[in-house]
Symmetry: C2
Subunit: 170 residues, 2 copies
DNA sequence: TATACTTATATCGATTCGATATACCGGAGA
DNA sequence: TCTCCGGTATATCGAATCGATATAAGTATA
């Protein structure tokens, strides 16, 4: 997934390592470490997906190659992300997905969140009405999970609505 | 942190590996893998913090030793968790923290979230009013971050209020 | 009886993390 | 001017964690 993120960010403009870390961190959901980033850059370079152009001073600016662009497209098309981070990453690059496929990505995510919500509610209700009285802090954690999933679905629904009207308007 | 979680869960009752995975997963914020869990169990056993009692069939039930209990207490007292998972884990075991110290843990978390909120709002406002119009999906991600942080603070405030009244009532 | 799912422990390679090392650069203040 | 400090920048190390896979026993079901 880091490879995917790097390819996506470099697609927009050439960047060096430090800048990539900043750009990825700015997306808000992943503070990647240098211990992940630099090995990933060398990995991608060895595979021929990115190439280093000499930058100013110590900097090594990287850019995507044509095969890298293709690889990014493949990764974008591969579905099946259940983790939150994977979805957010995919969303950050949803602009590169064909417009007619975008709604499907969002709806798949909605289904996954709906499932999560059911599970979270079941746990919460189960714990709340349990014979052995559960720890108040664990109960709070379960409630948080329910609420944040609900909020996430609401947020996603706005995004879906926006997507539909954008598609209709086009 | 996995070590901490294991010690905390085993403190309540002896459990075998598979059961620990389930119990940890049931907390809702960490689906730990066997590739992390089993090495961790052996690590903890080698250090003398847990010991295996023979369970039924293939099962190897583990329980905390006395040194393990002490170790757990130390880890509980060590502060300085910025990651979400670390906080949730600590909260799951807050019942083991001395009542007079609990409020401090919650308030530290509140400060961290408040900082995060300011950062998230700055990014969001900055991107929204930027000259180069930002991708609508990235904007949505930023808005999500603002909202979910706000919701988290609201949830935490309820927990803090509950904590205060509990302390006052005692 | 065959099939398939759940329980249960375990290991492998690859990825990722957190800490640390190194060094250059620019600004603030003595 | 000198010195210290924080930000920039690349890099590496060991340890933790993940995801996939192997194995095998029990249990339900058709």
């Amino acid at each position: 997934m880091l490879d995917f993120a790097i390819l996506g960010l470099l697609r927009e403009q050439p960047r060096h390592g430090y800048e990539l870390k900043r750009a990825l961190g700015d997306l808000g959901f992943w503070q990647v470490s240098f211990g992940s980033l630099y090995p990933a850059l060398r990995r991608l370079e060895k595979q021929g997906f990115i190439e280093a152009a000499k930058g100013e001073g110590r900097r090594k600016a990287y850019r995507v190659t044509e095969t890298g662009r293709v690889r990014f497209g493949e990764m974008l098309a591969e579905s099946g992300d259940d983790s939150d981070r994977d979805f957010q990453l995919r969303l950050a690059f949803l602009g590169y997905v064909a417009p007619e496929s975008r709604l499907g990505v969002l709806e798949d995510r909605r289904t996954a969140l709906q499932d999560r919500l059911h599970g979270a509610r079941r746990s919460f209700r189960g714990a709340r009405s349990s014979a052995r009285n559960p720890d108040r802090y664990r109960l709070a954690l379960m409630e948080r999970r329910v609420r944040s999933t609900e909020a996430d679905i609401a947020w996603l629904d706005e995004l879906i609505a926006g997507e539909r009207s954008a598609t209709a308007g086009a």
